[in-house]
């Protein structure tokens, strides 16, 4: 390193560059702890026709695992290998770097995503495929949330579950791997007659969604969390279900 001394500030003097990484650690840390608590101490997420996204699907086809663990690993690995979360995790948990221009303490032994464990992030698309399967079940659950013993109805839980699955769909469809899959991997966007290819149109749509991928990542995580908290409070009788009609 030839330059004599490292600059001391990370951005404009006084900028609060440390807020984002700490908030990330707080939010993801609490979400992680909550998930662990669910896995080990909660055995159901069902309240009548409402089902917590952590416990869906309920059918385990004879495979014996803790109910929440049965599916939880899919969204967890899907999110852990997501390009957006990777940025937040490397910044927040590994300080690699904490913020732009902030000096890192460990100068050696950085291998990025070239070796175990982070080389596994290359498998993100596989978790995307699996997450899509889970998403199908969550849509079925959301529809079921509108079917009460006396027929179609709308409860607060139905709306929460619907909003949640819409947000999860937006998160999944704005994925970078999906953007690549639908068209990004192609180099030709025009047909012989000069008109746009279908892949181009799809790629454009997914690219527009993709610009908000980080936003969808956060709000869908909080909506999953909130949906479980709501249903769990119903299960424990802390609150009563609200029916609109």
């Amino acid at each position: 390193m030839a330059q004599p001394a490292q600059a001391v500030h990370g951005g404009k003097t006084g900028s609060a560059w440390w807020v984002e990484p700490y908030l990330t650690v707080l939010a993801l840390g609490l979400f992680g702890l909550y998930s662990i608590w669910l896995v080990f101490f909660q055995h159901t997420g069902q309240f009548h026709n409402y089902l917590s996204p952590f416990f869906s699907p309920t059918q385990s086809w004879g495979i014996k695992v803790l109910p929440a663990l049965w599916v939880l690993w899919v969204p967890l690995l899907f999110r852990a290998t997501c390009y957006y979360y990777r940025k937040e995790i490397y910044r927040g948990f590994f300080h690699d770097p904490m913020a732009c221009g902030i000096p890192e303490s460990r100068r050696k032994f950085y291998f990025g995503e070239t070796r175990f464990p982070f080389i596994w992030t290359n498998l993100h698309r596989w978790f995307w495929y699996l997450a899509l399967v889970v998403l199908v079940f969550l849509w079925i659950d959301a529809i079921r949330a509108f079917i009460f013993p006396n027929g179609f109805g709308v409860g607060l839980g139905s709306i929460i579950m619907l909003v949640n699955v819409v947000l999860l769909t937006l998160y999944s469809l704005s994925c970078h791997a999906f953007r690549h899959l639908v068209g990004g991997g192609s180099t030709r966007f025009s047909c012989a007659d000069g008109s746009p290819t279908t892949r181009y149109k799809l790629w454009r749509t997914v690219s527009d969604l993709n610009q908000r991928h980080g936003l969808f990542a956060w709000i869908s995580m909080f909506s999953v969390w909130f949906t479980d908290v709501y249903i769990r409070m119903l299960i424990y009788g802390v609150i009563h279900p609200v029916r609109f009609f």
Partner: protein
């Protein structure tokens, strides 16, 4: 605006140096490069600063202003009202003198990227939509601010393992060209070291040309590498649909 502004400018060379303070009169619309020119003209004629266009076009005047990687000619002094403006050379590259760094490593790496190999000889006609993606990368002015801020090069000094974001978008530009026939994926995964990038996005944040280096360049290239090395089946299907 304050009548007088204070700049603390790095003075030194490869063997060392320190910041030195200069007080100069403020002028309306002044950019940091103007302030440095004022210092050169009136107080320190031997102050070294590289510049050419003073219009954010040539990419010569990259430096670090109050810790942020910026173009000296594109940064207004009134952004730092009531603050001392610290100006330092780019951290990642060896200092030649004062604010001038040796960025020749970048040109060496650029030369090592296999050039455009068209399937047919020019002239050829392409649809605009087929080159939109490439043209975003063509906006690069080679200021190397992205290379400077990339923590792989800056903190880990891994220039032997990773070529940096500028090279990643140069490779993206060629790989995404509809007529290009060369394959640079082995290079990307191997010597150019795309795996070292952990998509923490500082390159995109500092790019004065607003190029979306990570989302539009590095991530698609990481996905292309994954097609070839981590998803042979999917990659094959995609190849058939190319």
């Amino acid at each position: 605006m304050a009548e007088e502004i204070t700049l603390s400018v790095f003075r030194g060379d490869r063997s060392g140096g320190r910041e030195q303070e200069y007080k100069i009169p403020a002028m309306t619309g002044m950019v940091v490069l103007d302030a440095l020119h004022y210092i050169q003209a009136h107080q320190a004629p031997d102050l070294a600063v590289r510049w050419n266009c003073k219009a954010a076009h040539c990419g010569s005047c990259s430096a670090e202003i109050n810790g942020s990687a910026k173009l000296l000619c594109k940064t207004r002094v009134d952004d730092y009202e009531n603050e001392v403006i610290h100006v330092r050379p780019m951290h990642t590259f060896p200092v030649i003198k004062d604010l001038v760094t040796d960025v020749s490593w970048n040109y060496e790496k650029l030369r090592q990227i296999p050039a455009f190999q068209p399937a047919i000889n020019a002239p050829f006609t392409l649809q605009q939509r087929d080159v939109d993606r490439l043209q975003e990368f063509r906006r690069c002015i080679e200021c190397f601010l992205c290379q400077n801020i990339c923590h792989v090069l800056r903190d880990h000094d891994a220039k032997d393992a990773y070529w940096g974001p500028r090279m990643m978008i140069r490779i993206s530009e060629l790989q995404m060209h509809p007529l290009d026939t060369a394959d640079r994926l082995d290079l990307l995964k191997g010597a150019a070291g795309i795996g070292y990038c952990n998509i923490t996005k500082c390159c995109t944040v500092v790019c004065p040309q607003g190029i979306n280096i990570t989302e539009n360049g590095i991530i698609p290239m990481k996905e292309s590498v994954a097609d070839k090395y981590f998803d042979p089946l999917g990659g094959l299907v995609r190849k058939m649909h190319k």
